[in-house]
């Protein structure tokens, strides 16, 4: 039996509203809010990046993991499309900050928005194989959308961390399944600052086809139906897509509600479905079944069937709940501050 021993999230406190971005580009805010089904997104201040978000999320995961000695963590994998360095791992900083060094394996993953679930997938496999006792899987991003692009309304920052192990579980990974094809709906070439995307091509042939493929695959594999799940978490590039894909698969809005964060958070890319899972675990009861399906452009989806254990009640409040990070202690910034924070202003250096 393998699964999650500890989980935690971290989200910067800064937010920018859709109206504030729309104002700058002369766009119609109400139609963007309706079209994307989101009202605001998180913004990382200049001292927050994927590494710092990962460390804070991992510290929360360790608090919930109880007696896990960081030195027993045999792997640290961080999935992100915004690793602060082009060359030099993020994971080494995180591993050293947690006291997990030096006897462990570290790698940074990249697969658009599903790099975080990839890290989860690989950690589960290594634990199951017996290669490592614990694995730390993190999905986190401080994603960038080009100024004025539709992506700018949604690209957000946040991270979730999971300590995977084989005993003392909070949630058992009952099944995993991956669905992958070559589908170039979104990309960023080397040395480019902002990503490019295929517009409406990112929808039906990419997000929906892949997410559906993974979800149907794991349902078939597990012999389960949507009604067998208490909760479901889907990748959420905006507010609308996860709601629609849930409906297409036969899930209700109630099932996705706790992990449907994008309307108030934006798209945290590699952090998106992982943070959604943390928010869902925060409210889950022992015995609840959770379906999680990530999506990463390019394109692929990782699907997981989680079974929540009795231990959830003990650990849920050993660290801050994700809903609190989402909705409390917020500070709203204007576009000028946002542009300064995200280094969109050309300075004289």
């Amino acid at each position: 039996m393998v699964g999650i021993v500890g989980y935690g999230a971290h989200i910067p406190r800064h937010r920018i509203k859709v109206e504030e971005i729309a104002k700058v580009w002369g766009a119609d805010a109400p139609s963007y809010k309706k079209g994307l089904m989101l009202t605001q997104k998180s913004v990382p201040p200049p001292d927050v990046d994927t590494i710092t978000l990962s460390v804070e999320a991992a510290k929360n995961a360790l608090k919930r993991a109880g007696n896990v000695n960081p030195a027993d963590i045999g792997a640290v994998y961080i999935g992100s499309e915004s690793h602060p360095y082009a060359v030099k791992p993020s994971g080494t900083v995180v591993a050293d900050a947690l006291g997990a060094c030096p006897s462990l394996h570290v790698a940074d993953f990249e697969f658009a928005c599903k790099a975080g679930s990839e890290a989860m997938f690989v950690c589960l496999g290594l634990v199951k194989s017996g290669y490592i006792k614990y694995g730390l899987a993190i999905g986190g991003d401080t994603s960038q959308g080009a100024p004025g692009d539709a992506l700018e309304y949604s690209t957000a920052a946040g991270a979730a961390a999971f300590i995977m192990g084989s005993d003392n579980l909070i949630a058992e990974a009952v099944h995993t399944y991956s669905f992958t094809t070559d589908t170039p709906d979104f990309w960023r070439r080397e040395y480019e600052h902002y990503p490019q995307h295929g517009g409406r091509f990112t929808g039906e042939p990419a997000y929906f086809r892949t997410t559906m493929g993974a979800a149907n695959g794991i349902l078939e594999m597990s012999g389960m139906k949507p009604q067998d799940f208490k909760w479901a978490v889907f990748h959420q590039p905006n507010g609308k897509f996860p709601l629609r894909v849930a409906k297409m698969l036969g899930f209700t809005k109630e099932q996705i509600e706790p992990g449907w964060l994008s309307p108030r958070l934006g798209n945290t890319y590699s952090g998106a479905s992982p943070i959604g899972l943390t928010a869902t675990l925060d409210v889950a009861k022992p015995g609840d079944m959770i379906l999680m399906v990530s999506y990463g452009s390019g394109a692929g989806s990782d699907a997981f069937v989680w079974k929540v254990t009795d231990r959830i009640d003990e650990v849920r409040d050993k660290a801050v709940r994700t809903a609190k990070l989402l909705d409390e202690n917020l500070t709203f910034v204007d576009y000028g501050t946002y542009a300064k924070f995200r280094h969109k202003i050309l300075k004289n250096n």
Partner: protein
């Protein structure tokens, strides 16, 4: 900044490791080779607590170039729950609301960026305790 300077301090900056004098209990942060209180030279490594309260603070408006993106930013001295005092930025706060005595927790942040080419420096900052 040359990377060795950052690398050498990582136990303190990443993990708040301090030296505790095994003779008199004095806690040295950063660690020292000789205790300034009793002169003993044996220390054990401990980890500092991550909460404390602000003893004094300032809001810096005229900032060195590597900090201009964050100006105005606050720098404070906090006394941690075990009595150790250290200096760091107070992040994530409305600078006008900082008060002496305010409770803070330590978070892991990027402290210096060194332009677009340099090595990144990570470390601790204070943030107001809010939960």
């Amino acid at each position: 900044m040359f990377p060795s300077r950052i690398w050498r301090e990582k136990a303190q900056r990443y993990r708040l490791e301090a030296g505790k004098c095994t003779t008199c209990g004095y806690i040295a942060f950063p660690p020292r080779l000789i205790c300034p209180e009793c002169g003993a030279r044996e220390f054990e490594t401990i980890t500092l607590p991550d909460t404390g309260k602000i003893l004094t603070y300032t809001v810096i408006r005229v900032a060195p170039s590597q900090f201009t993106d964050e100006a105005p930013y606050a720098v404070g001295i906090a006394e941690l729950t075990n009595g150790v005092k250290l200096m760091a930025q107070i992040a994530d706060c409305e600078v006008e609301k900082i008060k002496v005595g305010m409770e803070v927790v330590i978070e892991f942040r990027r402290v210096q960026t060194h332009g677009s080419h340099g090595v990144l420096s990570y470390g601790y900052k204070f943030v107001p305790k809010w939960y």
